[in-house]
Amino acid sequence: MRLSDLIGSVVVDAEGDEIGDVGDVWLMQDGPPMGVFGAALRVDRLVIGRFGLASRAGYERPDVRGPVILARLLGRGTKHRPVASWSDIAAIEEGRIRLRRRSGDLERPPSLEQPATGRHWSAGLELLDRQLVDPDGMMAGKVDDLRLELRDEGPPIVTEILAGPGALARRIGGRPGAWIASVHARLHTGSGDPAAISFGVVGKIGDHVTLIVSRKDLATFEAEAWARDHVIAKIPGSSEA
């Protein structure tokens, strides 16, 4: 299952009322150990309610203040959205998630609070669309999507970063997404699966995601290597700075 399958799905409560769309997924770093990264990220909460520009702009965080008018206009009222934990989910269908509880019973925390142990991550704000950088400082793509592995005991964990047009297509959705996906499928004969990077090779998540392997060893490097070998390398001077 991919993160993009969760985000954007309509959430329906126990009585069949629509509460809203899944806007974000909060992850907690307390899953089974995964490579250098440490404990894997596990799905903790689903945040219901679309992301406004305000959240994206960072106005949920207290240290982002200006411009004041913009903050007011965009509305700091993106806090207090209902959240549902994984155990509240009764069933996941195509584009829909049914909860066991009623909308009124759901918690509405002010925002992403940091618990005493472990570390909370907002997948939408802190992981998705982040730049991937390898140990040499070279750029290796973006976090286009995340693969979630369902487990029997407990919520799913994040196992892989999905990068490249195959992954991006589904995030964008609609016709442009479908077009990108078909182009990708045609260029990568074989499976139409997106390129995946195991989360075990993630070193650190900061304002960008640092990997511990060189970008040349990643599946996402295929297209770059092709471009290099078939076009750029043929032009004289391609090895000079």
Binding site: F51, L53, R56, A57, G58, R61, D63, V64, R65, G66, P67, V68, I69, L70, G124, L128, D129, R130, Q131, L132, M138, M139, A140, G141, K142, D144, A163, L168, R171, I172, G173, P176, D207, H208, R215, A223, E224, A225, A227, R228, V231, I232, A233, I235, G237, S238, S239, E240, A241
Partner: protein, 409 residues
């Protein structure tokens, strides 16, 4: 001492590199139609580009990430993709306009039809992009653009009492022969010419290319706060020359060739040499910048390695995007659309797309996670926000005005 020299050089480079084909066309045409009545718009445009270019340079310096990179993170994949599509398209038009402009300049020198020069110019642009180091490229063409100062001399000779002319045109509104709609449309074009979106993408990527650190923030500020307004003065000089020579005669400027007349008439052949050299250099530098911006925006959206600070082999897709963009630009320039028309479209559409580009910059420039301790001051935020409101109004009005005035006819 070295620092002072560096700042001085930076200012001159920004000064000489400010004008591009859009500024030449917009200011010359406006001067002929409206005299100096729209001079204020140029000033507004200069203030706008100064504010946002400094911001985008600061964002890149403090966060080590250029603007488009951060746009996707901040606005999400979908919105950023729309932004990319719009910016890329307009950028392509601008590349085509710059290449067409260069071809026109060569035509002015040789007399041979510009169409022949279009592919040759594009190849020259690409070779410079491929081989020449970033900072050298910037400095050589930027400093050469200073030759355009001859327009100020021409203006002084045409109209020594220029300061009086400027004051007398302080009246707000079009002359009796023109409509408010056309007046507004030309104002939008001037704004779009001064505040081109590619400038901020290029500027912020350039900060990363040249590995700016916090210590370079002062240089950044000086370049922008002093260099750009000086470039704006050149724009006004072009407008003034056109106003002084053409407005009284009822001549409308539609060709680059006409732009040579004020300088020829007052400074003679030597002045013309300076003018043509300066035009070529300034437009060439703009062609380099827009071509690079094509590569920057696409690569930064997808997360590919980009930049001239690595070997081309290490940024293959980036260079392919640049190559393809130049090819498409050549095709556009070779189409039946004449370069002046392509230029006009590119600046007007650029004006319409400005809020899309500037809003994310304003947002990020306030985020301490990227800016550390160098977030915007309240004063800067206030001005930048006012600008954004103005730009949104401009953006909404552009297409209707374009249709209403039949493209400013």
């Amino acid at each position: 001492m070295k620092k002072v020299f560096e700042i001085f050089l930076g200012i001159l480079t920004a000064f000489g590199g400010f004008v591009d084909i859009g500024d030449l066309v917009a200011n010359a045409e406006t001067g002929a139609r409206f005299g100096m009545r729209l001079a204020g718009v140029v000033l507004v445009g200069v203030v706008g580009i100064v504010i946002y270019a400094e911001m985008s340079g600061r964002v890149a310096t403090m966060s080590k990430r250029p603007v488009f990179d951060v746009i996707r993170e901040r606005l999400g994949a979908r919105v950023a993709l729309v932004n990319l599509a719009a910016s890329f398209f307009i950028n392509l038009l601008t590349v085509a306009a710059e290449i067409g402009g260069l071809a026109l300049v060569i035509q002015l020198v040789t007399g041979i039809n510009y169409l022949l020069w279009v592919p040759l110019v594009a190849i020259a642009v690409w070779i410079v992009l491929w081989k020449v180091r970033f900072s050298i490229m910037e400095k050589v063409f930027g400093l050469s653009g200073l030759a355009l100062v001859v327009t100020a001399l021409a203006l002084w000779r045409l109209d020594p009492g220029f300061v009086n002319t400027l004051a007398s045109a302080r009246g707000f509104g079009p002359p009796p022969t023109e409509s408010w709609a056309t007046y507004a449309f030309f104002a939008i074009a001037l704004l779009g010419a001064a505040m081109t979106p590619y400038e901020v993408f290029f500027f912020s990527s350039g900060a990363v290319e040249e590995h700016w650190t916090r210590k370079d923030l002062l240089v950044n500020r000086a370049n922008v706060y002093i260099g750009f307004p000086l470039g704006g003065v050149l724009s006004l000089a072009i407008m003034g020359c056109s106003a002084a020579l053409f407005e009284p005669r009822g001549v409308s400027v539609d060709h680059l060739s006409q732009v040579t007349l004020p300088v020829s008439a007052t400074v003679g052949k030597l002045g013309l040499v300076f003018l043509l050299y300066g035009m070529f250099a300034a437009i060439f530098s703009a062609a380099l910048e827009t071509a690079l911006s094509a590569g920057y925006t696409v690569s930064q959206f997808f997360g590919w390695q980009w930049g001239k600070f690595v070997r081309p082999r290490e940024a293959a897709r980036f260079h392919i995007v640049i190559l393809l963009s130049l090819c498409v630009a050549v095709l556009i320039a070779l189409s039946t659309l004449d370069p002046i028309a392509v230029t006009e479209y590119s600046i007007v559409l650029a004006a319409a797309a400005l809020p899309l580009t500037y809003l994310p910059i304003l947002i990020v420039a306030n985020d301490p996670a990227y800016m550390k301790d160098k977030t915007n001051s309240m004063f800067l935020n206030a001005i930048a926000f006012i600008f954004l409101v103005v730009l949104m109004i401009v953006s909404i009005a552009t297409i209707p005005l374009m249709i209403w005035t039949k493209g400013g006819a």
